[in-house]
Amino acid sequence: MTPSLYKTKLMACVGMLLLSISCQEETTVNPENNEPTPYSLAIPTGFPKSYLSKENPLTIEGIQLGKMLYSDPILSSNGRSCSSCHLKENSFSLPIFNSWSGTKISVPPHVNLAFRNKFNWTGSEHNLDTLAMGDFEPEFFNTKPDELYKKLSEHSVYPSLFKKAFGINKIEEVPYHQLKKTIAMALAQHIRTMISANSKFDKFKRRELSLNQMEHEGYVIFFSEKGDCFHCHSDPLFSDQEFHNTGLNISYNGSDKGLFNLTQRQEDMGKFLSPTLRNIEFTAPYMHDGRFSNLEQVIDHYNEGVSDDKHVDPLLNKRNGTRKLNLTPIQKQQLIAFLKALSDWDYIK
């Protein structure tokens, strides 16, 4: 057999295999039976509409499946689960993840993601429904498909949840790609229910309590030209969901290039998606690479450390013509007191 003929035959075989897989898929996915129970998300006052997906509507069963899988090492071959890097006590984040390529990443928290349509520090993901599919790769879960099929189908609860939530009769008959997608969808459903809106500041806005003087002064600094934080960290998500260069660098290497690495456009140099400041107290260290170990350092940065680089966001140019805030030590403390009033202690209980 000539190599090219061999190749054609191989392709034909692969094609047939794919065909047979997709046929099987149709026999196992049967949404007509046992419709799952629709779930409607309670949206806190003042929040924007959630980005719910038509393809993956919230259901009680889907959320339950996602919630169980989130903290179950069953998905990995290395003992990891989502909650290994998204720890509850850190508002479902992790101080630092060292990637195989040597990049340090401060793992972003899972807070109010139902209201966002861009994910990761550079907004590299747009679809929460498929985001977790990447986690099966060697760098994260190093999932062994055979083991996964075996463990899931022999499990006491999962088969019935897969059936109820997604109409899957036999897990072992679902093609691997489809299985990963279904798992990612269940996880997305669970993550969309992770809503935090019960911080001291939320209670203050609902007139259930007042802020103490330090917090209140900090609140004024945050939302006025004094600190001018609100343009990018806008209430209620405390993120405008846009990209900005916050003047961390004067020149850019590797991951510090931020959005530029995706778009190759000069104007995107050093830009990152504004992170939420909700639960910021629980998610040290700070910035995409965790370069600041505490909030004091973050405030010092905005106050006097913003670089002179030409890519820095116009919003960091201040009234006095410089990129300095001129906060006094006490004002810095007030700002931090306010940031801590964004902690939702119920959320991490």
Partner: protein, 248 residues
Amino acid sequence: MKNISTIAILNFILISIGLGSCKKELINQVELPNTSLTIEISHEVNGILLEFDSILYQNSSESPYSVSRLEYYISGIKLYKEDSTFLHSDATYYINARNKENKLLVQHVVEGDYTAIEFLIGIAADKNISNSLENTTENINMQWPDVIGGGYHFLKLEGRYLDTAGVNLGYTMHVGTNEMLIKHRKLNINIHIQKEKPAILNCIMNVNEWFQNPHTYNFNVDGNYTMAIPALMQHLKNNGYDTFLIQN
């Protein structure tokens, strides 16, 4: 509808539905005409289509500058007929010059010939109240915080410029608070509204007008930051009186 008979308001209310407008308006008139006007907004600098993020432009004070953000509200649209009677729209439209297109749909416009248009850049006091607009991400990001008065930014114009020494700096021209509401001058139009015949009005903002006429705005002298500086916002308000023109 209360009868404000002295003013020559036509005998109906005009309801408009647009981006971020309030769909919950009371429809308190029996017959709403099935006719509409689309206002297509585009953004130029002295006749050339605005291109974001490149220092291409010169304003009247000869600062080379670029635009990285241009967002604002249009509201209070009034369409005049020849006899000076007018239609008043209740809708508030959010405009982001980065959008591929900005089309404002003014619905239920009574048939006839219209000869002039007036509008506000910003939001009139009765609606310039925090959370009065739908909580879209855009409206949320346009909020003017309660601690500095509440409501919404009327205008956010941001970008970069080269100072006298050629240093690349940022500018943020923000306008907000009721006193700074920008009433745009009346523009002549020539629009015939007729059933089943969509009418389109092309409206162009010349970004340079924010920096001239009457006040020649100079980043190096006036400053590159207007928030909470009424004197500077007042310049923008005055300059904003004639930023738009109609293209027939």
